[in-house]
Subunit: 408 residues, 2 copies
């Protein structure tokens, strides 16, 4: 039964690459929606399996009565518990979706995802308007890439950055033990935020990563070889953080040229899930930098799926962003000013010494389609490192990192 006022029945789904806290956003949204259900302001909470694909098939899981124990367990569970997809809906898809929505008396749709998922949600919202289907749509931000224009930082980033920083703490010690050059490829299609987090691994002078390459700075073989030679001379070893999205002066990602060329429905070329870029760069160094021991690892999907490593701040904010989406949708249905019926949850950092954020309702277009890059003040002038401004920005998001001991 749909409620007569409030949100009616609510559909929630997850989309795009999973993160370590996308289930926390789901749990946060469901927890708040449950309260509305208890108060008769909402009917049922339905989870669509595999995002838009589940909407199309009417493939739903009823979440209305999820126990608190299971909600709490979701906070600690990486990946998308409802399943995910990378499907960009068209007008025909939307008509099929609305048929399902009509049958189930759905008046609110919440979509947790990145910029492409926000765009998918925007398409659904626009088509609903055209079709006169009364629907409030809210996008809940997530992405380990941290590249949404609507957020100071994005849920999912802090935990992935924690993984990356930890990985570099350990890998730098490994490189100290056996020497040579170690290249680590970090996720981040268009933005360098996650790769930049490698810099948080440094605690003492001489700690790696010694070089950081971001998609924002055009990459050339010549500079790379010269940089590594200089680092080897200075430190006797070298740890390099490289974004999977580095691109040459032509703007084309180098990894995309080496991969299978596979594209998703949003037009993104596959870059993760292959070691090709790391191996390519290792080959360059073996041939041109005169370094014998060169190793390359690609952190791959572990960065977004490794269990039990969530940053506490990230989990909390992901859950709050989910909850806020329900609150904002409720206000939009009630016609409250400043709460668009096609919205996204923006996360803004408050000014002041103590780290705090606030959540704001923004038009969904603010999050959709386009991404943001690392701002210039986060990138060192050398083009192969980050600045203190970046470290100050990232540290509160990432949470605690382990201490290690050195003997020399």
């Amino acid at each position: 039964m749909a409620a007569k006022i409030g949100l009616g029945n609510i559909v929630i789904a997850q989309s795009g690459g999973p993160t370590m806290v996308i289930n926390a956003s789901l749990a946060g949204a469901v927890a708040v929606a449950m309260r509305l259900c208890e108060e008769g302001l909402a009917g049922r909470i339905l989870g669509a399996r595999h995002g838009v694909e589940g909407l199309l098939k009417g493939d739903y899981v009823d979440l209305t009565k999820l126990s608190s124990a299971r909600l709490a367990a979701l906070l600690q569970t990486p990946s998308s518990a409802l399943g995910s997809c990378r499907h960009k809906p068209d007008a025909n898809d939307c008509r099929a979706i609305f048929e399902e929505f009509r049958r189930r008396e759905v008046s609110c749709f919440l979509y947790i995802g990145g910029n492409d998922s926000a765009d998918a949600a925007r398409i659904i919202a626009d088509e609903a308007e055209k079709e006169d289907y009364p629907l409030v749509v809210y996008h809940i931000p997530k992405t380990i890439d941290n590249d949404l224009r609507s957020c100071d930082h994005t849920p999912g980033y802090g935990s992935a950055a924690n993984f990356v920083a930890r990985a570099f703490i350990g890998d730098d010690l490994d490189n100290r033990a056996l020497g040579g050059v170690k290249i680590d490829i970090v996720m981040g299609r268009d933005a360098g935020f996650l790769t930049a987090a490698a810099a948080l691994a440094r605690r003492e002078k001489g700690d790696g990563p010694h070089l950081i390459y971001l998609p924002e700075v055009p990459f050339t073989e010549e500079k790379f070889v010269a940089d590594v030679k200089a680092a080897m001379k200075k430190h006797g070893r070298c740890v390099v953080a490289v974004s999977e999205g580095i691109r040459g002066k032509d703007g084309v990602p180098i990894g995309a040229k080496l991969g299978s060329g596979e594209k998703d429905s949003h037009g993104n070329v596959q870059m993760s899930g292959t070691g090709a870029l790391g191996d390519h760069l290792a080959g360059i160094l073996r041939a041109k930098a005169g370094v014998k021991r060169v190793r390359a690892d690609t952190f791959g999907y572990l960065q977004r799926s490794f269990p039990d490593l969530q940053s506490e701040t990230d989990v909390m904010e992901a859950a709050q962003a989910g909850g806020q989406a329900v609150v904002f949708a409720c206000k939009a249905i009630c016609g409250r000013r400043g709460f668009p019926s096609k919205g996204t949850v923006g996360i803004q950092r408050c000014k002041g010494a103590r780290y705090r954020v606030k959540y704001v309702a923004l038009p969904i277009a603010d999050a959709a389609k386009y991404t943001r890059s690392m701002p210039e003040e986060f990138i060192a002038k050398s083009g192969n490192d980050v600045t203190k401004a970046f470290l100050d920005y990232a540290a509160p998001l990432v949470g605690k990192l382990p201490k290690v001991e050195k003997l020399f």
Copy 2:
């Protein structure tokens, strides 16, 4: 000043691939040796930097007065804090080493490492005998590969296995969300123990890894493709654990054929630090198994270096093995029966329902050079999985694994 009785001055060093607990063995040995120093039974404790290379150069760190706080921090610090190497000493090297040892009045040498490091220690011990240099040599076992013949299991294995099992818990959820085939390459040059630990990630029916390929079972493309097709049919998705050491019917590791061909001084071909094997297998599936979405990750050095993930059992046993080496060496110097002057610390599992181990002094040759493979009873008849006997063997070594929540 060397002590007149007891161990004289003690040299300790680390060798081979680092692990998450090789520093725990160092800390354990140093802690026990410190007690001997306090009682006048030993003089100084010297750490050689970068194993045999430090011995050759006389490059030492004095560990005699290391604070308890730093010893405790070492228990939690992955990688080899003294630095490592893969140097196989010859008779000339040994003469140079003994010159340094004479100058520093060293009568006890402890070497923490795997089978190649045990062999290096054995060479040094044999040459000392030939040269009439009075030296007690003890090897302290470590290797994430778990392939020492002298141990039920090897310090370093449990923690690496914990990383691998966790990684598969998360990656299996990631694969549930987005589907297709995911291949994960796990370390293990000759033995499949670490790859087999992926099976600990399974908690419920349908959980991955769905297929496990070990170096002990000859790998064929035909069976691989057929296995994956069958798993895709059954589960609609497929997570595959593959050892970096898988080999064809010719016995040659497939990864070795794809890599740089680089060899260390023990004759081992480089296999880690490249994504080539994963990419090769993904290519096979794209071409022959009719699966569109295939991704491959190579866990790489993170398996041995990731901080703060140590298995408690592993840390404790690594530290105890280090301590026992000092005790055994002391007894060998005193001429106690059953304590060889060229020894290794064997770890034996006690019979009975409760997991317990005991440490025994064994001839160093028992650990040196040759490795052991997974016993037949640990490998499923299908050749693409492990048995319950393996899970029972591995579970107590690996420690706690995180719980996750599913919605369908």
